[in-house]
Symmetry: C2
Subunit: 136 residues, 2 copies
Amino acid sequence: MSDLLERLRERGWRMTSQRRVVAEVLNGDHVHLTADEVHARAAQRLPEISRATVYNALGELVSLGEVTEVSTDGRAKRYDPNAHHPHQHLVCSHCGTIRDVHPTGNPLADLPSEERFGFSVSEVEVTYRGLCPSCA
Amino acid sequence: MSDLLERLRERGWRMTSQRRVVAEVLNGDHVHLTADEVHARAAQRLPEISRATVYNALGELVSLGEVTEVSTDGRAKRYDPNAHHPHQHLVCSHCGTIRDVHPTGNPLADLPSEERFGFSVSEVEVTYRGLCPSCA
DNA sequence: ATCCTACGATGGACAGAATCCAAGTCAAGA
DNA sequence: TCTTGACTTGGATTCTGTCCATCGTAGGAT
């Protein structure tokens, strides 16, 4: 989890000032920012960075498997930099904030083969929904 | 599960020709249509139906608990008419088709209270992803 | 059967999220 | 330092969905 920049450089990701700033924003707090929030934070350091660039960089980081896209209902997608620790999400149905959670059990084992319809199932995503303390 | 129209009438849902057509579209195949697809199918029978009307009707059906909103990937939401049988979804990561599945186990029980962060957790949504037979 | 009226439908404007594109810029290898 | 292909830019565009003022009508009342 520690040095995203390091890993990206090792993987031959062409490093520009814009990409560096985006990666640094993600490498900071483990909150789940929207693309626009990433853009806003990046713009504090690099005022002229364009939205398109942020979208491009985020899309590439997702393809590289370094961050995960979390799409909550209809709202803007959020980007989760914690891609190297498997976890699930707990979403507030009112304000949309997301927390990482670590449920016990193995949901993959809960899907019997007769319920797989010939699919090669490779991942499971579990989303818990409810009201956070401040919205309750 | 069978007669959506019947139930809606019993529940006092004011029946207009537009609402009838929307309900009939949903009551048909158990595929998961987007709002736009519902609109397109409804328009085959009632050419002048407006998109706003379809959105309104879908929103009400969701509030009534008669259909479920499924947002798979940040693309358009899909509407699942199979709301009376609790189930989860199996999505093909390549072509996007969705199948209803019925896993065993109870994922809600898998989230210990120290992992709930004061949220009042009310629902769990499990999405299995993989390749369907034709995409594999 | 007809009338009333509150509720629903309409469609065009609007808004938020994300993508596209042509032109300009720059990282990094030679 | 030079070169070049990859990256960035920002405005236009697409896609999804909502809003609103106005018009129409379902269904109860008469």
